[in-house]
């Protein structure tokens, strides 16, 4: 039987899945790599480590699949986190580490650009919010802070482009990842000259833009031998993880949305038109030539809950992380909606959508003498979900949404999907596929091999659990608390700035 391999270059690890023609997972392997934080705001990864880890993991999976004697590997399809930047010299040798999406070193460059009229123009042309995550601002940072490296840079790549270059010898970037660089014109699918001019680079320093279904790259002979993959196996460039998550969530039609909560989180909708947000708060990335994925990302997903459990959960050595998590959720369930008036603003890592404020902080508000640990657990969870609703409310201004698919291990816990349904007052369907991203990669690959006629048809093959329906009484409570949540977020904005200045001062001393 034919077998399709998906290679997910994620934030913390590479995950490799093998699917059969029915979309069933017949093999899986993963390998973690490290994120380094050499200074505050810095977030880097070693491109060679990612490449070597990917080779290891892929090689093991391929030999496992082949040893069954049942499958013929017909394609490899790639996906990767958005917004990474890797500078390489004229020999293709990396000039230092890759900078990840979570890196905030371009704060100053962001502030400067936001004061200009150009900011709105670039946002409208490129679909990428003006924020340090954007490769555009990372390049600007490099230009003003590491001039020598900037001048030595022959190409500005994403991590995925680097990996594909190693394997095939070609510099390419798919349209989807390119649309998250802040450098691509999302309306006519070419590099945006004004953005390139502002960054001080030329189109020759960027990889060739190809469609996500492109399979013109050929695996180098040496890797064919070492991996045991023949020249007939197609190398499909694939898309960004965010866009594949939407496809893999089965939402190829308007009126539906996905909420993904991993370490970070995002809510996304799909449409044939760019979503115009006056406040420049929503992204518009490209899935393929016909569809845009629009929405907002939050920094504060399950990473916030993990922080909470590390600090306050009852750890003893006999407990696994999953047990700790389960205990916390059980305790949260003992408290009513609204946590008896305890609110939590979850901005432990600053925030992207919808406030785009890297200085924002976490806040517990409304504690009184009757609150106990359970209320804090409940409030922490509700705070993370309220933030998703803040993004959701913006999207609801532009589109009607009647059903939402939820992805990610945190959000698929029954309590969490129920709370989300109550907060949004919209039914939530849990995606039962292990990885929405790789499922998306499978659907694209299967379409390329004629199993589906179109991505729309492919997306219909996704089966979801019966939706969790909202409880109107709870929604009424949450609607009020959410108003307070938004008010607090808004009100505290100057205080967040003040605190940022204070801590910057004390860091200097």
């Amino acid at each position: 039987m034919d077998c399709f391999i998906s290679i997910e270059l994620g934030t913390n690890a590479v995950r490799v899945y093998a699917f059969d023609t029915n979309g069933a997972i017949v093999g899986f392997n993963r390998g973690a790599y490290t994120t380094f934080h050499p200074a505050a705001d810095y977030s880097e990864q070693d491109p060679e480590q990612i490449f070597i880890t990917m080779l290891f993991v892929l090689k093991n999976l391929v030999s496992e699949i082949k040893s069954t004697g049942k499958y013929q590997i017909v394609s490899l399809c790639f996906s990767a986190s958005m917004h990474s930047l890797l500078a390489v010299d004229r020999n293709g040798v990396p000039l230092g580490n890759a900078i990840t999406w979570a890196d905030n070193r371009g704060k100053q460059e962001t502030k400067r650009l936001r004061t200009k009229a150009l900011a709105r123009k670039l946002y409208e042309a490129t679909g990428t919010p003006i924020h340090p995550m954007s490769p555009l601002l990372k390049i600007l940072w490099l230009k003003s802070n590491q001039q020598e490296k900037f001048e030595k840079t022959s190409m500005f790549l994403s991590i995925k482009s680097y990996i594909i270059m190693q394997l095939t010898g070609r510099y390419v970037i798919d349209l989807s990842l390119a649309s998250a660089t802040g450098l691509l014109n999302i309306h006519h699918f070419g590099w945006e000259q004004e953005a390139l001019d502002y960054a001080g680079i030329t189109p020759a320093q960027l990889p060739d833009i190809v469609p996500i279904s492109d399979s013109s790259c050929k695996l180098k002979r040496q890797y064919q031998v070492s991996l045991g993959i023949g020249p007939e196996t197609k190398i499909i460039v694939g898309s960004s993880d965010g866009c594949f998550a939407s496809l893999g969530g089965g939402i190829m039609e308007e009126g539906r949305a996905t909420i993904t909560i991993e370490d970070s989180a995002a809510m996304r909708i799909i449409g044939r038109k760019v979503l115009q947000d006056e406040g420049c708060r929503m992204f518009n990335y490209i899935l393929d030539e016909h569809y845009y994925i629009s929405g907002g990302p939050s920094n504060n997903g399950s990473v916030v809950f993990e922080w909470f459990s590390r600090q306050f959960a009852n750890y003893t050595d006999s407990y696994s992380d999953e047990m700790v998590m389960r205990d916390l959720l059980l305790m949260a369930e003992q408290v009513d909606a609204g946590a008896d008036g305890l609110l939590f603003l979850p901005y432990l890592l600053g925030e992207r959508a919808p406030i785009w404020n890297p200085s924002a902080r976490g806040v517990y508000f409304g504690a009184n003498i009757n609150h106990d640990r359970r209320h804090f657990i409940r409030a922490t969870i509700e705070g993370i979900l309220f933030e998703m609703y803040s993004i959701g409310k913006l999207l609801l201004q532009h589109r009607d949404i009647s059903q939402i698919t939820v992805n990610g291990s945190f959000v698929t816990a029954p309590l969490i999907s129920r709370l989300l349904a109550d907060i949004f007052n919209i039914p939530m369907s849990v995606n039962q596929h292990v990885s929405a991203v790789s499922t998306g990669a499978f659907l694209l690959s299967a379409k390329e091999f004629g199993i589906y006629r179109s991505l729309e048809e492919a997306a219909k093959s996704i089966t979801l659990h019966a939706p969790v329906h909202p409880d109107p009484a709870n929604h009424a409570i949450y609607a009020k608390y959410h108003q307070l949540f938004e008010k607090l977020t808004d009100k505290l904005s100057p205080e967040f700035e003040l605190l940022d200045e204070l801590t910057l001062l004390s860091d200097k001393h």
Binding site: F56, P94, S226, R310
Partner: protein
């Protein structure tokens, strides 16, 4: 214990023990200004508080040291009272030349009974934790007392007894240190520390026992934890780091392939070549050629 001070160049108590540079107990009855200025330790210094309460800077971190607490600093780390003050209380200390222990191979004045691999593990743990405040470490009190008694009374076999007690002191410190950092609460952070340590010294022939000990875990649970966290066994993860570093170094034209092999921890250029080719399909030399002339 009463007040005393044994010093290498003063009296003959330490004559048979060139590795003990100083040992003493001080009862401080009033706050003494400038009695304990912050200095850079030149040897391995262990302190143990018997009574009182001391406010110290240990390797740049302020610590309140209470009775039964031990503190140590490695050579090169700073220690001293806050503003140089020595607070009221009783403190015992011993200064050791620990290089003899750590450089076991070249060691002439051999005093410790550690095997070579034990000594290496201990060295790695002290390298990762160059100074520490270890609260409530009762055993240290007894060990100090016994060393003092042995040195005083010089009964038959006292030289061996003292050296054994020093080994015991080091084991007690190291075990407490690893236990203190062994809670499963923050494995990712520990794993990152471990990775940085491995990357700094890839040439060393790491064993799983060493890696586990340096993050304060037993071998079995460490292996399990690494596997579930990274997807690799500890040794595969290490090979992965070796090939990663070799890949980077091969792209620098001025380095010799054999040197790269040894620097990244392969036994020989043959071993390097086989491992590298298995994964990438290239021998290191072919890989270099491909990557330098695009």
């Amino acid at each position: 214990m009463n007040q005393f001070l044994f010093k290498q160049d003063n009296g003959n108590e330490l004559m048979l023990f060139p590795h003990i540079l100083e040992m003493g107990v001080r009862k401080n009855l009033s706050v003494q200004l400038n009695a304990f200025p912050e200095i850079v330790a030149t040897r391995f210094c262990v302190y143990y508080v018997i009574d009182g309460k001391f406010d110290w800077q240990v390797a740049g971190r302020r610590s309140i040291i209470l009775p039964k607490d031990a503190v140590y600093v490695m050579p090169g780390e700073k220690i001293g009272g806050v503003n140089g003050t020595l607070d009221v209380g009783t403190v015992a200390w011993i200064h050791l030349d620990i290089d003899c222990l750590l450089d076991k191979g070249r060691n002439q004045g051999k005093w410790s009974g550690f095997s070579e691999s034990e000594a290496l593990t201990i060295e790695h743990i002290f390298r990762m934790h160059r100074a520490a405040h270890l609260p409530i470490l009762n055993e240290v009190s007894r060990i100090f007392q016994d060393i003092y008694t042995e040195l005083q009374q010089r009964e038959v076999g006292y030289a061996s007894m003292v050296n054994q007690l020093l080994d015991e002191l080091i084991i007690v410190l190291v075990r407490q240190l690893t236990r203190q950092s062994a809670s499963s609460r923050d494995f990712p952070k520990k794993f990152l520390q471990l990775e940085q340590m491995l990357r700094q010294n890839l040439a060393h022939q790491w064993t799983v026992e060493e890696m586990a000990a340096s993050v304060g875990m037993g071998t079995t649970s460490f292996t399990e934890r690494v596997r579930s966290y990274s997807g690799f066994s500890p040794l595969s993860y290490l090979i992965n780091l070796r090939v990663t570093e070799a890949t980077r170094l091969l792209k620098q034209p001025d380095l010799n392939v054999t040197d790269i092999a040894l620097d990244t921890g392969f036994y020989s250029s043959q071993h390097f070549s086989t491992t590298f080719k298995k994964l990438t399909g290239y021998t290191p030399r072919e890989f270099r050629k491909k990557n330098l002339y695009l």
